[in-house]
Symmetry: C2
Subunit: 308 residues, 2 copies
């Protein structure tokens, strides 16, 4: 029977000021999905590991198998598929966990079906996976997970993903405090209306960050990484957020912020040693109040999900 | 007596979605300021032409002479200066008329004083000129008038101007309908709070436009030139705005929008012939309802204000 394994990486969405429109992929952690074609005519979910028993076992509800069903229906094929999901990152962490599962599954099934769709054409299926996972079909995790690098989602409807240049030699430290912040809750607490004045400040920083990436101006990237609208609200859900921020910047981070909707935070640096210092110092800060955390020092994944 | 003439160009601020943060300079029209040093110890305004008699003749209130006073006070010098202002563009047109006057005057006086300040250091004085002219110290006209090209004003306080790359071969058509739209009025009618959803759409487009300019992607520039927040309101002050927009896009414009706070509109094209067609067709549309208009086909001024 034909089978394949695919890997899709964790992603950092929002990137401080780029709420809902920017995200980048990191080389690790990530999820692996294995698909085996069969003659049953149905999609079954036959293995999940690494989820601590928390993900749905129903093939209709688990997003790895659900997006395979939607994909097959989308291309008008009926095909038996056995789905095996190997989670390589924590759930509800803000690192694009659901996105990694759906993107790995979509890349794998598209590969097995002879690649009738391009990566960009897979995006709408992955976005539907996000709707299933958290109620909103956003693309700022799935687009970088699929395409790699830093992706601007200029528009969500129709989706318009633009892969931006990324300066060489950037490192990302991810620190995941073990506290519970569901995406839906983290979206719910945000305001629905904002002052025009604040919106202008925000799009000035968005423009600065995009210009910094496109023109290899790391200082500009750093000073543009400011979010006056969402961070002050979401930071309340993350223990010792401002202590960690101050420490990361003191240690030399270009910028610091919440990854996706948190609780994972990320620091961008241009020095691996600084990235490693941050990966050690921030969990130490959290441990004072008995919050456990794991941390990763990553590079930017410029190629996206991959067939293994 | 030492004297000098300086020219500063018209500028297109806002650039559709980049409200308050983006602007570019065009090669014409523009204002010329002549300064002659003397021993009087005071700054006098001795000539104005091209303003139709509308600008203040009081040296404290006319912005060309007022910024010279502020500059001299800023660098701690007392100096007699005779100021002559030759307006080369209409007032209250949305083409950065006040900005051209103050920038030309500042470049001239800085030149005569031996250039103690850099162009970027002249910016705060020019911004104060804007406050005098329209009540708000914004930099999105004065920064491109001074520095040339396309300038991102990431932050206004402290001011952080970033000159962005501009693709070669862009043309700008400016059409100035002869109707009265004072900047202060045009700002007053804007909303103070906006939906987060709309702000996200806007900064997606801002990011797309900046990425388009930085990576020489003209199609991306074009499809990012959308403003769902301010244009629908300000368009009401401009006769036949949507007819002109449709015509410009039909003729092949990359994008179309209001220049500054209007009533001038601008179209960006990558073909001089298209730019010229638009410069003819739009005044024709306006003339149906007896609105007169003048139009210019310009290139991007990449070097900014200049000593003549």
């Amino acid at each position: 029977m034909k089978s394949v394994k695919a890997f899709a990486p964790a992603t950092v969405a929002n990137m401080v000021c780029g709420y809902d429109i920017l995200g980048f992929a990191v080389n690790e952690p990530g999820d692996t999905v294995e698909l085996i074609l069969n003659d049953s005519g149905v999609v079954t979910l036959d293995h999940i590991s690494g989820d601590g028993g928390l993900l749905p076992k129903d093939a209709q509800k688990n997003i790895a198998s659900a997006v395979v069903m939607q994909y097959l229906s989308g291309i008008g094929k009926s095909q038996g598929v056995s789905v095996k999901l190997y989670k390589g990152m924590p759930l509800n962490s803000g690192m694009g966990s659901s996105s990694a599962s759906s993107v790995a599954a979509l890349l794998a099934i598209n590969h097995l079906m002879g690649e009738p769709l391009s990566r960009v054409q897979l995006l709408p299926f992955a976005m539907e996976g996000e709707r299933l996972a958290c109620g909103s079909a956003h693309a700022d995790n799935v687009a970088p997970a699929l395409l790699g690098g830093l992706v601007l989602v200029r528009s969500s409807n129709p989706v318009d993903p633009i892969k931006l240049p990324v300066p060489e030699g950037l490192f990302c430290t991810l620190v995941h405090p073990h506290v519970d912040v569901p995406t839906s809750e983290s979206r719910r607490i945000l305001k629905e209306r904002i002052a025009v004045r604040d919106a202008i400040t925000q799009w000035g920083n968005v423009a600065g960050m995009v210009a910094g990436f496109c023109t290899n101006n790391k200082a500009l990237i750093g000073r543009s990484m400011e979010d006056i609208i969402f961070e002050p609200i979401r930071a309340m859900l993350i223990p010792q957020f401002y202590e960690m921020k101050q420490k990361a910047l003191e240690l030399g981070a270009l910028g610091f912020g919440i990854s996706g909707s948190g609780p994972t935070i990320f620091a961008l640096t241009e020095d691996k040693l600084v990235a490693e210092k941050i990966a050690k110092a921030l969990p130490d800060i959290l441990s004072v109040n008995n919050t456990h955390a794991d941390s990763h020092v990553c590079t930017i994944n410029t190629t996206g999900a991959a067939i293994l």
